[in-house]
């Protein structure tokens, strides 16, 4: 059985990468992909904890499934909005979408 810590470290790394992606990427779609990365880290976490700590394993795995489902819905929705943005501004660059400020 792979020790729990390895999973946690991996998920932390994934999470950190996701955060870095959101902070640095200019294109909305790539930002979305980074968020997906973070959500995958979360699912990994849940599965790892379910495997090691939880005797009946159900909660963790159900949670992971739900996260995946919600992530999918979120991406669907976000991409729809990004397409709308693309229609209006012919670019998905997040920096250009900054007319609302101060």
């Amino acid at each position: 059985m792979v020790p729990l810590e390895n999973y946690l470290v991996l998920s932390a790394i994934l999470f950190a990468l996701g955060v870095y992606g959101v902070l640095s990427r200019r294109n909305a779609v790539l930002v979305l992909m980074s968020v997906e990365l973070m959500l995958n880290a979360v699912s990994l976490n849940f599965v790892a904890f379910a495997a090691h700590l939880d005797p009946d394993r159900a909660t963790g795995i159900v949670f992971a499934v739900f996260v995946i489902a919600v992530a999918a819905a979120e991406v669907g929705l976000a991409l729809a909005i990004v397409i709308r943005l693309f229609r209006n501004r012919s670019s998905a660059n997040v920096d250009e979408a900054a007319t609302l400020r101060w």
């Binding site: 955060v19 959101v22 902070l23 640095s24 990427r25 200019r26 909305a28 930002v31 997040v94 920096d95 979408a97 900054a98 007319t99 609302l100 400020r101 101060w102």
Partner: protein, 629 residues
């Protein structure tokens, strides 16, 4: 009747209200009402005098008080107290008021706001009588302020003239500064003795409950008030300017009654002054300096009323010297006689001014002896009384003062007071010669006419008084009038003194009179100014200084403009810029600026927002660690 002496004050007060309310619509604008009030006041005085004397010495002073207010154990009773000093003052005020009212009817005919003049005159008389009758310092202070108010209104009667308004303002503010001292003194005395009642304070002081520097400080504050009202140096500046008011006003207020309020106050509280260290020395010094200073300044004045004004200031100095010597009878006696002949001189000057078609400058008068014989004769009697000729009133009161000073003060004070009386004789003679003798220096003065009976009447009456008032000092005359004896036996501090003429002293004072009169007679003989001009040419700087009243007015004007108003500009500038713009508005703009800076963090770009969230999480963890640990 003595315990209801407050009626004396109530009658003029009611007259004031009547005149103020419907004066304009009354026939002759209500001047008859004023004269009636003054006359009834004069009559009522004798009733009060009779009832007072009837009670006999044991029952003095006659008291009558009501409870005014009470907060916790702070009780305040207001009422009247009639004793010997009060009787003297009542005599002076009612008599002179009556004469001035009668004189004013003629003098003020045709003047603007004729009814208002009489209304305020009654207000003045009422508040002066209240001042004299008050049994406690608080009521005295109330009357003191009302007297100041009526003087302000009367000086500023011709308020169309800028100079009259400025003079009224100057008078009110200068006396007001003095009143500040008086109020502080009154409250300090209250703090020490626990009461405002004058008699209780005197008993407490005499019983020794109060003393030391505390008493001295409070007495000095009270003397400050007296100096303000009685125009002693350095508060004297307002009295000469107060001549802007109508002349009868000068006669009543700035000669006989108001200005002596300070002397009355010191006389009333003399036992307290005695107990307060060397307070009396201070009183003597101030009186002496003022007498000498104003005597010198009177030499160089050319306006009749200004000369008389400075003469009043000087005579008040004499009274304070007498009180300073601890002899209340001398002070009060001089006050008594001075009121009559000074009122006479002022009314005489008024008659001259009216007769010579409003000429006041001595340079424009001269040779009025033939044109206005009655006024001239009355004026002569007044002048001689002031100068101190033997049988006249002025001689006896000045003799009493010399006697008091000789007895209680050293030779130096005696010498200086003698010099002052020489000066008095000198400027009185100078004034009389320049006004009545010699040739008329101006066409208008050439055909001046004698004034009407309603004005010469009071002059004659006062002239008679100026001649015979002096004899009251004799025991025999006193008893004849029902008094327990001469003036000394009636008004005294600790024990009555019977009067007996001291021929040596009488000789000295007559000598002083002669020196003064003939000195002036020689300098201005026959009304010619050539010798006087030569004298001024010899010492031009000194003459200019005396003529400009030793630059006191300019000094005060400088002080006010530079120091007081300057400081006020600084304060209002400070309030505008420091407290308001930087302090209040400053903090407002600061908050706004903070908002402005924060605003720029909101760049509108998603990565910045995400960064804020990430940084937020980190910060929260740090805060939780720092606090939670």
């Amino acid at each position: 009747m003595a315990e209801h002496a407050w009626i004396l004050a109530a009658v003029p007060a009611i007259a004031f209200l009547a005149l103020a309310a419907l004066g304009r619509r009354l026939p002759r604008q209500g001047d008859f009402l004023a004269v009636l009030a003054a006359a009834s006041g004069f009559g009522l005085f004798f009733a009060v005098l009779a009832s007072f004397l009837g009670r006999g010495e044991g029952a003095w002073p006659v008291l009558n008080a009501i409870e005014w207010t009470a907060i916790g154990d702070f009780r305040l009773n207001m009422g009247i107290a009639v004793d010997q000093i009060t009787i003297v003052m009542l005599a002076v005020v009612t008599t002179v008021a009556f004469m001035v009212n009668v004189f004013s009817v003629g003098y003020m005919k045709g003047e603007p706001r004729y009814w208002w003049y009489f209304a305020v005159l009654q207000l003045f008389v009422a508040s002066m009588l209240l001042l004299v009758l008050a049994d406690n310092l608080l009521l005295l202070y109330v009357a003191w302020e009302l007297v100041g108010l009526s003087s302000f209104l009367l000086i500023g009667h011709y308020w169309e003239r800028r100079s009259a308004v400025e003079a009224a303002k100057k008078a009110f503010i200068t006396t007001r500064v003095g009143d500040v001292g008086l109020l502080i003194g009154i409250i300090l005395l209250w703090k020490a003795t626990g009461t405002f009642n004058i008699l209780d304070i005197i008993h407490a002081v005499e019983a020794g409950e109060v003393g030391g520097t505390g008493l001295f400080v409070s007495v000095m504050f009270i003397f400050l008030g007296a100096m303000g009202k009685s125009a002693q140096l350095p508060f004297h500046v307002w009295l000469p300017d107060a001549m802007e008011g109508p002349t009868p006003v000068s006669a009543l207020i700035h000669a006989a009654t108001m200005v002596v309020a300070g002397v009355y106050l010191v006389a009333r509280l003399l036992p307290v002054f005695e107990a307060a260290g060397d307070a009396l020395l201070v009183v003597t010094a101030v009186g002496l300096i003022t007498a000498l200073f104003s005597g010198v300044v009177a030499f160089a004045q050319t306006d009749i009323k200004k000369v008389l004004a400075y003469s009043t200031v000087s005579q008040l100095g004499f009274m304070f010297v007498a009180l300073g010597a601890g002899v209340v009878s001398a002070g009060m006696f001089h006050l008594f006689t001075h009121a009559f002949f000074k009122a006479l001189l002022f009314l005489g000057a008024g008659s001259v001014i009216l007769g010579a078609h409003h000429r006041q400058e001595v340079g424009q008068l001269g040779g009025l002896w033939r044109r206005m014989p009655v006024t001239a004769a009355a004026f002569l009697v007044g002048s001689l009384a002031l100068a101190g000729l033997f049988p006249l009133a002025g001689f006896w009161s000045k003799d009493e003062i010399l006697h008091a000073v000789e007895g209680h003060r050293g030779a130096l004070v005696f010498a200086l007071i003698s010099l002052a009386s020489i000066m008095t004789a000198f400027y009185t003679t100078r004034l009389f010669i320049l006004t009545f003798l010699g040739k008329p220096r101006d066409a208008e003065a050439g055909h001046a006419r004698e004034t009407g009976a309603s004005m010469t009447g009071p002059l004659v009456f006062l002239a008679v008084l100026s001649v015979f008032a002096g004899f009251v000092v004799y025991g025999g005359v006193g008893e004849a009038l029902g008094f327990p004896g001469g003036f000394g036996e009636f008004v005294y501090l600790h024990h009555p003194e019977t009067f007996h003429i001291d021929w040596g002293l009488a000789g000295v004072s007559t000598a002083l009179f002669v020196i003064g009169v003939f000195g002036a007679g020689w300098l201005y003989r026959g009304g010619r100014l050539d010798r006087a001009a030569a004298l001024t040419a010899w010492q031009p700087k000194l003459y200019e200084m005396t003529r400009r009243k030793f630059y006191f007015d300019d000094l005060y004007q400088f002080l006010i403009d530079r120091v007081v108003l300057g400081f006020s500009y600084v304060v209002s500038w400070f309030d505008r810029f420091a407290v308001n713009d930087t302090g209040v508005d400053g903090s407002a703009t600061l908050t706004g600026y903070a908002g402005f800076l924060l605003k720029h963090l909101q760049t509108g770009r998603v990565p910045n927002y995400a960064l804020a969230i990430a940084a937020g999480v980190a910060a929260l963890i740090l805060v939780a660690l720092a606090a939670g640990g």
